[in-house]
């Protein structure tokens, strides 16, 4: 009796065991896929730092951060990151001057003024624009916007920071509009109703109630847009020139950090040469800048999420 009972149970137990084993295996596989994200981050840091270390053995960090000349391809070599940073900041600044007002107005309009139907039509169009490749925007900057600006201001050189800055601004308007609008829509309806009940107009509600309430979300949108502009490559590589130039004057041509990396990569890369290592040092600078901005944006967004 006992032995037959055992026989009927043990295959079931065995099946259960197999089932559990497979389940654990699959879970491990899925966990591994998740951990790849961590691996990628580690790999980025490892590659940038390990390639930048030989560079910093050749060039002191002090020189890198304070020298105002960047001429790795000349006979007298200078490795000061400041000219590349100034180019990056100038194009980013122009982009923000264009994108912040336009993006904010669009967000307030879509969130507080537009009818449901208008919003549902405009938002997908904004999302479509986010998908336009940046190399195409680079073409616009070089072939259309700069010649147009030259008609107004004839002294403008073919490669300048103004044209690409403006185009970059147009490119990031959808980011700001979409993120800021999300933040404003997330403000509880009760606050709007309260304002309306007090007799406030839509404009008063939008500017004095909704915008202050959503301010940390809106600031997060700005910060993410800055991070986007700082890391933007093709527009500036095509239209802002590839010669490092320590200037904040938008009508001059100047390379950004990203444009420098592209110009080196387009040439013949001599593996383990100082030119090769310098793009990793430049990349590390860029990564630190964007990482700082992303953390700031994350904090702002979290603060916003906590309030509601």
């Amino acid at each position: 009796m006992n032995s037959t009972k055992n026989l009927t149970i043990s295959p079931r137990l065995a099946k259960n065991f197999r089932r559990n084993f497979i389940e654990r295996l699959i879970e491990l596989g899925l966990l591994f896929s998740g951990i790849i994200a961590v691996f990628i981050t580690i790999a980025i840091l490892y590659v940038l730092i390990s390639e930048a270390i030989p560079f910093f053995q050749h060039v002191s960090i002090y020189e890198f951060l304070t020298d105002t000349v960047w001429t790795p391809n000349f006979s007298i070599k200078h490795y000061g990151i400041l000219p590349l940073v100034s180019g990056t900041l100038t194009t980013t600044g122009i982009a923000l001057i264009v994108a912040v007002p336009l993006g904010t107005i669009t967000a307030i309009y879509l969130s507080e003024f537009a009818t449901h139907k208008v919003r549902e039509t405009i938002k997908p169009i904004l999302e479509l624009l986010v998908g336009v490749p940046t190399v195409v925007f680079g073409y616009f900057a070089l072939m259309i916007v700069t010649p147009f600006l030259q008609k107004i201001y004839p002294d403008l050189s073919t490669f300048n920071m103004l044209g690409p800055g403006i185009v970059m601004g147009i490119m990031i308007v959808p980011y700001i509009a979409s993120l800021a609008e999300d933040a404003m829509r997330a403000v509880p309806m009760a606050m709007r109703e309260g304002a309306y009940a007090m007799g406030a107009t839509r404009y008063q509600t939008a500017v004095r109630v909704i915008t202050p309430a959503a301010i940390s979300g809106i600031i997060a949108a700005y910060i993410l847009a800055i991070s986007r502009a700082v890391g933007e490559t093709m527009i500036v590589a095509i239209a802002a020139g590839q010669q490092a130039n320590f200037t904040f004057n938008p009508v001059e041509s100047a390379a950004t950090i990203t444009a420098y990396i592209v110009s080196v990569a387009l040439g013949d890369l001599e593996h383990d040469g100082i030119g090769y290592q310098s793009i990793f040092a430049a990349g590390l600078t860029l990564l630190i800048m964007t990482l700082f901005l992303n953390i700031l944006g994350h904090i702002a967004r979290k603060k916003f999420a906590e309030r509601y």
Binding site: I44, G131, T134, V262
Partner: protein
């Protein structure tokens, strides 16, 4: 005390009406400003796009798609570029999509709230914000030199997969989160294991949302230029990589993975960088092709998402 808090009523009706009218004017002024901003943005972009298409129109014919790049602008085409783009995208798709879905399923269905899942989550959102050129540097240091893969289709495909991965993970998670708990509970109640619940219920029901993310990611991968330039893609390719499908057995070969290549945006960049005007026409034509592709893909993704939102009621 209470009397002091009461607002003083405006006795003069005319003053009050003037005040209301003033605020209402502000209201409509801002509405007009909003419409003006939106309209000027749309018109600017429309002009830019139309200009691109008009500039490139003379070259947009079948020969353009079936010719190799050439020193003579009028005879140059984008054959090697679009074949290269397609092959790179195959690699990207095959590596990013399974990994991304698996990671998304893990984070939503399996992960317990602990330091490990927090770490993964922070990394995913952080990777989405890393500039694309940094991925190019990573691939240059890691894939090209450390792994010795060289400047090949495989390297480019994997690089773009890194870029696409966060997009797939995030969209998978969002899609899974929309599935109500009772679906899972019903499956568990009839004895399904966790993986069976995921494979037979959670993943199929979140299919649309995942597809949206995949299409958006692929559209981004098509237009992405900087990382592919950084790994050292060639700009002048007058040959095709070996065909992935052969007529003789074993029918499928993998030689194409190790071939040199160029992609559409790099071809465009190359033509923009040339001083001759004739090449700029080619660049515009290539740009028009890229824009059509990405707009179509993104449009499809948005449409799919819209349909899901409308259709599914749990």
């Amino acid at each position: 005390m209470k009397k002091d808090l009461k607002p003083k009523p405006i006795k003069d009706l005319g003053l009050m009406r003037a005040l209301i009218a003033k605020h209402k004017r502000f209201d409509s002024l801002f509405a007009i400003l909003g419409i003006f901003v939106l309209a000027s943005l749309t018109i600017t972009l429309l002009i830019l796009f139309l200009d691109l298409v008009i500039d490139g129109y003379p070259r947009l014919n079948l020969d353009f798609f079936s010719n190799f790049p050439s020193r003579r602008a009028a005879r140059a085409g984008i054959l090697s570029a679009w074949v290269g783009s397609s092959l790179v995208l195959i690699v990207t798709f095959l590596s990013a999509v399974p990994l991304g879905i698996a990671a998304g399923v893990y984070l939503e269905e399996y992960a317990k709230k602990n330091w490990l899942s927090d770490l993964i989550e922070i990394n995913v959102s952080n990777l989405a914000g890393v500039p694309s050129i940094i991925y190019g540097l990573l691939a240059l240091g890691l894939f090209v030199y450390q792994f010795g893969l060289g400047q090949t289709i495989l390297t480019a495909g994997l690089t773009l997969a890194l870029l696409m991965l966060p997009i797939v993970i995030v969209s998978t998670r969002e899609a899974i989160r929309a599935i109500p708990v009772h679906i899972r509970e019903a499956a568990y109640a009839v004895g399904a294991t966790k993986w069976q619940v995921c494979l037979q219920h959670v993943i199929p029901y979140s299919y649309g949302g995942i597809l949206t993310g995949v299409i958006i990611g692929m559209a981004r991968a098509i237009g992405e230029t900087a990382p592919v330039i950084t790994i050292g893609a060639l700009t002048f390719i007058a040959f095709l990589p070996p065909s992935p499908v052969g007529i003789e057995p074993p029918f499928i070969n993998f030689d194409w993975l190790n071939a040199g290549f160029t992609v559409l945006p790099i071809q465009m960049f190359n033509w923009i960088s040339r001083p001759q005007l004739a090449f700029h026409i080619n660049a515009a034509a290539t740009g028009a092709v890229i824009i059509m592709l990405t707009l179509l893909m993104n449009g499809a993704a948005i449409k799919i998402r819209y349909n899901i939102r409308k259709k599914i009621k749990w």
